[in-house]
Symmetry: C2
Subunit: 328 residues, 2 copies
Amino acid sequence: MPGLDEFSLIARLFAPLAARHPGALGLTDDAALIAGPAGRQWAVTADAMVEGVHFLPDDPPELIARKLVRVNLSDLAAMGAKPFAVLLASCFPLGVADEWLERFAAGLKSDCEEFSIALIGGDTVATPGPLTLALTAIGDVPAESALLRSNARSGDDIWVSGSIGDAAFGLLVGQGKAASLDPADAQWLLGRYRLPLPRTALGPALLGLAHAAMDISDGLVGDLGHICETSGVGALVDAAKVPLSAAVRAALAAGLGGIERVLAGGDDYELLFTAAPDAAQSVAALGRALGLRLTAIGRIIEGQGVRVTGADGRTLSLAGGGYRHFGG
Amino acid sequence: MPGLDEFSLIARLFAPLAARHPGALGLTDDAALIAGPAGRQWAVTADAMVEGVHFLPDDPPELIARKLVRVNLSDLAAMGAKPFAVLLASCFPLGVADEWLERFAAGLKSDCEEFSIALIGGDTVATPGPLTLALTAIGDVPAESALLRSNARSGDDIWVSGSIGDAAFGLLVGQGKAASLDPADAQWLLGRYRLPLPRTALGPALLGLAHAAMDISDGLVGDLGHICETSGVGALVDAAKVPLSAAVRAALAAGLGGIERVLAGGDDYELLFTAAPDAAQSVAALGRALGLRLTAIGRIIEGQGVRVTGADGRTLSLAGGGYRHFGG
């Protein structure tokens, strides 16, 4: 199966094809930037989801549609862009039921309304394989203002929105591996896995305030590693400061996983961003204004790589860094 | 499997989600239109291809990549837009070989260079199913000038570029069902199926000259039906005028199929357009300038539906109209 090596190969093979357009950002950011009307740019992103890989076969169709929309809107939010349109390429399996399609479309409609976006195009084909969906999302950002992964600076605080690790434990719930959890906690975690909440208000509000930003899809440490790599810096994270939900605290207490599941688990779709220390009060005020928890968890330093310090002051060892959807 | 009913259902379910954005064109055109810099619009299209449905499992990886690019550029050409960027969402099967990926990337690179486009983003995931690819292509068109399917007018001539039916017979070759053909003809037809030539020069040159346009992906008669439906008109086609390649003439003579395979077969990716009769000389001159055969095959009339007249003057009956990838 495609493992880390193959994905590195693909990145190496595809990156030269981006050289012709500066807005491709070397294929290392959450979205590409193309020219918009005067003073604006469009951020464009495309993400694919495959049944059995990115969602569970018996997930409700409404939630599959909404997750697809949301993971893409999360990419736009990470650039500070406000979404306005999506295109959907859907490959529906042979034998798909009318009721399933109706529920899928209802989920799509619900999120188009919730986020004030339109479905402007796409393609519908049949597949002999698993349900496969690719969404392209387009958002609006003031010209030359988009938040890039490559803009972290030594001395910056590292911030995250919301709570981290919820989706990684939610996946365990979905896989039936969390029977010992309180049912209310289990349902809440499963919801966080199935239906991420893209930070569409936070992203645009961070323009001019944050330096670098991205969304956490592959795991906090792995994604922070991407910021470090593209910015040419290192990062120190204090594990004790990483914000945890009550449900994740309960899951940790129940022995369903350790802190490494929090730090390396994927699919949270919270925003990870860096900002100068003198912006800390403004960031905190923004969090209060949005009713969204924003937590400083560490600092950008000179050097490279991500070092996470545990409660005892020792460096945690996280094999492999980020979570990869394809295992391996 | 999803058949005609399910695809109608999807169209019915998805169309309301387009209402919020006029550039979605009700999801009935080849691409959507969004605002570009002053005086320009971007045409955006997304198409998916699935192994075993849109290409054959043992097709050369270079050609799969290039076909994917070209079917999307063909959609842009049909709107009169000049392509500049693509995003690729690729779902590679478990076990894909490095050499396969390298050849796929080489094909992509070749067409990025040939058509002066950049790969600006996308996503790469693993799939337990067949190779599945979704490409989003973005092109540039002068504002308010794009060629639409809905703009055919009674009295217009109906034109096609190139020759029709090549890909439908090429598919037979690929399926090993054309052993009686001359090998040179067979190879040429197979090439037309595997590697369409998007009419990227013709499309933009038709701005201000053509009324309605689209590309022929689902078959001449079926696609002309789409123009008639969205324009609220009917069409008369003279089968004897439909331009045939020497190889298709040979295939017809060899009894590999009838004229209905020419008229209803898909995947030619030629442009189908309508223009006022007084533009005929300009259209002919354009064809000479581009070195591209442009042929008037009929006329738009008041009413509805497509009527094809055979050599004997009788109306041909074409069951089902257009070819559908997903079978019936």
